[in-house]
């Protein structure tokens, strides 16, 4: 297993990266890209922040960002 140090920040946040575009469902331009956990495991989604419509959902890491050293063999 790789090593993941404890954060020096006391409180943690998920960064939601702004994305250009328009929501096809509600027309909002408030789109963001970030990982979520749902049915099927981790997904990297592009979502409308106003109506929560997912424009894209693609598989993220099976264990999130945890990497197995054995996967490098």
């Amino acid at each position: 297993m790789s090593v993941y140090p404890r954060s020096s920040e006391p409180f943690l946040f998920v960064h939601k990266e702004p994305v250009q575009g328009q929501c096809p469902e509600c027309g909002s331009h408030n789109l963001r890209r970030y990982p979520v956990l749902s049915e099927g495991g981790w997904w990297l989604v592009t979502k409308c922040q106003d109506c929560l419509f997912s424009l894209e959902r693609e598989r993220w890491g099976r264990l999130g960002s945890i990497q197995l050293l054995s996967e490098t063999l």
Partner: protein, 649 residues
């Protein structure tokens, strides 16, 4: 913009549409879904009645699921009515273990195992045993049992401790590997466990029993497929998951759109009490979609009070199931319309190797309660009060007549009260919301271990007041008859966990004390220890917010850190007392019928003083010496309640 039409409900599909989607008729799909649930329950019953170790036999610390094949992405259409903590993790556990091992490497007669919290959730003692099921050479699914092993190595016997600092102290980590191949034991895998874990003589028959119940599940599933056909079976797997996804979607749509915030916390970790660990939840609802954002929550703890990312996922799923959609079965489809925004590295998504995970429920139970708190206003009368939250787990170990022994969550505050609902008063002796287990029998505890359970009873004036009363806190006294080592882990004593809803009041907070032999002999009367201040002065606080002089509960007192003594090494005739938190009330207590308040006084859930102060009911008499002679002063009650009502307005 496009207008997205809501999907047709499953119940509105006509016969042809249903068959086209699920490859069988509606009746068959229903029968098969029930059949899958029967199979997992049967597997659990087989394990429960044949297990050897106390954690399986007396606690029911295991669960069973069926998973669909890889091409369907391992859906879980059936989970057992057992340990809730496992039900949400096992879908991902099976997927992650099988994908890492390689489904192409599995054969009939194999059993795969894995216990890594970062891969499959929960803690290292919970080994997930996965049996692939082949029908006519095709991998059609998996029958699975995840069960708590009595020990998995590490620095603490049996593992339960909030003081381990990394994965290396925590216990043996097993990546996905075969335990059986072609129905023959893989000796190197068994030796890996036996060479690292204590109590191998109990692990051996427990694991063999698990293997036999996996075979039972496999046989029942194959009989089912033989009778109904593999396509009908696979259709039913999808039907079961779709159905629970649909009921959750409908339940979400019944909530108003909005953003709902909640928070809860645990006291500290096992290093010191310098840092509390907070969970912050923002539930966003838009139509039938939800996003549960946990941003702003505390980083991981320095010791093994952490939970993992799959434990957080379970807590979210279970919270929403409890509150919004309790009537349909829990499946992997439950979260289809729910996204969880989960920062990695929090105390419920801890990372290796220093984010040691063991007391994972202590971190995810506050997460569940934070969601309960977030939604309580939106739910109005459907809100549910908080429970006692912390398992207050106590584990002891020692050697008697040359034979080592270890307890498994029997003699702390492991059972306690729930919160009240619109349907009635809460029960007072349950396992917390994220669990569903048995209560080890006192007779079994005293037969297996050198101790006497002196008290296991409800504590007066601890239940959250309400039109429907919260459950009362449980007080448990245990006298230890030999030298022993004790790990004590109460983690939610600084503030009430049993919050009230819909006008109900909070329950009380709990604490833990120990009386050393001299103190015990001084305060005991006919063996029992009372509750007055003189008694508590002789006690040593273990944890809680207490008056530093009298050691009685005092919300303005001092917090005593639960791990300032990491291991309590005690002499014979030492007594521990655990007092759990109380459950939250539902509704305005001034609306509780006076006759029910009278009954609560008679049964010592509440005192005459509390009846007056919180419920506005004036009762006369002596509940201890003449409980049936208690009487309500209706005239004084009406006056008191009128005065209270006018103050509120």
């Amino acid at each position: 913009m496009v207008r997205v039409e809501p999907p047709v409900l499953i119940k509105d599909l006509d016969e042809d549409a249903f068959r086209a989607r699920y490859q069988c008729d509606r009746f068959t799909a229903t029968v098969l879904s029930s059949r899958l649930r029967y199979i997992v329950q049967h597997m659990c019953t087989g394990l429960l009645t044949n297990a050897f170790s106390v954690i399986l036999r007396d606690w029911y610390d295991f669960a069973s699921t069926i998973a669909g094949p890889p091409e369907l992405d391992y859906p879980t259409p059936a989970v057992s009515n057992s340990l809730v903590l496992f039900l949400g993790t096992m879908t991902d556990a099976v997927r992650n273990a099988v994908e890492e091992f390689g489904p192409q490497n599995l054969q009939p007669g194999d059993v795969l195992m894995c216990n890594d919290p970062y891969r499959i959730g929960t803690h290292v003692n919970d080994v997930c045993f996965i049996r692939p099921v082949f029908f006519e050479g095709r991998l059609v699914g998996f029958v699975n049992l995840q069960a708590h092993m009595l020990d998995m190595g590490g620095v603490v016997p049996a593992g339960f401790s909030g003081t381990k600092r990394n994965v290396y102290e925590n216990g043996l980590v097993i990546g996905p590997q075969l335990l059986y191949h072609d129905d023959r034991p893989v000796k190197s895998a068994w030796s890996l466990i036996f060479d690292n874990a204590r109590f191998g003589n109990l692990l051996l028959p427990d694991i063999k029993t698990i293997y036999q119940n996996l075979r039972l599940g496999e046989n029942l599933l194959l009989e089912t497929i033989q009778r109904y056909g593999v396509e009908s079976y696979l259709g039913a797997v999808r039907y079961a998951c779709d159905l629970s996804a649909e009921t959750m979607r409908q339940a979400l749509a019944r909530l108003p759109d909005g953003e709902f915030e909640g928070e809860d916390f645990i006291d500290c970790d096992g290093v010191d009490d310098s840092e509390e660990y907070h969970v912050k939840v923002k539930v966003r609802i838009r139509g039938d979609r939800a996003e549960v954002d946990l941003s702003g929550s505390s980083r991981q703890a320095r010791t093994s009070i952490n939970g993992g990312w799959l434990d957080a996922k379970t807590a979210v799923a279970v919270a929403l199931k409890y509150l919004l959609d309790p009537r349909s079965p829990f499946t992997s489809g439950t979260l289809r319309n729910v996204d969880i925004v989960l920062p990695e590295g929090t105390f419920f998504s801890a990372m290796p190797p220093d984010g040691a995970i063991f007391l994972y429920w202590e971190s995810t139970q506050p997460l569940l309660l934070a969601i309960f708190r977030a939604l309580k206003e939106a739910l109005g009368p459907n809100a549910v009060g908080g429970d006692y939250c912390s398992l207050n787990i106590h584990n002891a170990n020692g050697v008697r007549n040359g034979v080592p022994w270890v307890t498994m969550a029997q003699c702390g505050g492991e059972h306690g009260p729930w919160g009240a609902t619109k349907d009635g008063d809460a029960d007072s002796y349950m396992v917390f919301y994220l669990a569903n287990n048995l209560d080890p029998a006192t007779e079994a505890i005293e037969a297996d271990f050198p101790c006497v359970v002196l008290r296991k009873e409800y504590a007066t004036d601890t239940a959250g007041a309400g039109r429907h009363r919260g459950g009362a806190a449980v007080v448990k006294d245990t006298l230890w008859l030999t030298e022993a080592e004790h790990y004590s882990m109460p983690l939610h004593t600084k503030a009430p966990s049993g919050f009230g809803v819909y006008g109900g009041k909070d329950g009380a907070v709990g604490a833990v004390w120990v009386w050393e032999p001299e103190a015990y002999e001084q305060v005991q009367r006919a063996g029992l220890v009372g509750f007055d201040e003189a008694v508590y002065r002789q006690a040593t606080p273990v944890a809680g917010v207490l008056n530093p002089e009298s050691h009685t509960l005092d919300h303005q007192g001092r917090y005593f850190h639960f791990a300032r003594v990491p291991i309590w090494r005690t002499r014979p005739r030492t007594m521990f007392r655990y007092l759990t938190n109380g459950g939250g009330g539902w509704g305005n207590p001034l609306e509780r019928p006076p006759e029910r308040v009278l009954r609560d006084v008679r049964d010592e859930y509440i005192s005459i003083e509390t009846a007056r102060e919180l419920y506005g009911v004036v009762i006369q008499g002596d509940p201890q010496h003449d409980p049936e002679g208690l009487q309500i002063d209706y005239e004084a009650t009406q006056a008191l309640r009128n005065a209270a009502a006018s103050q509120r307005h």
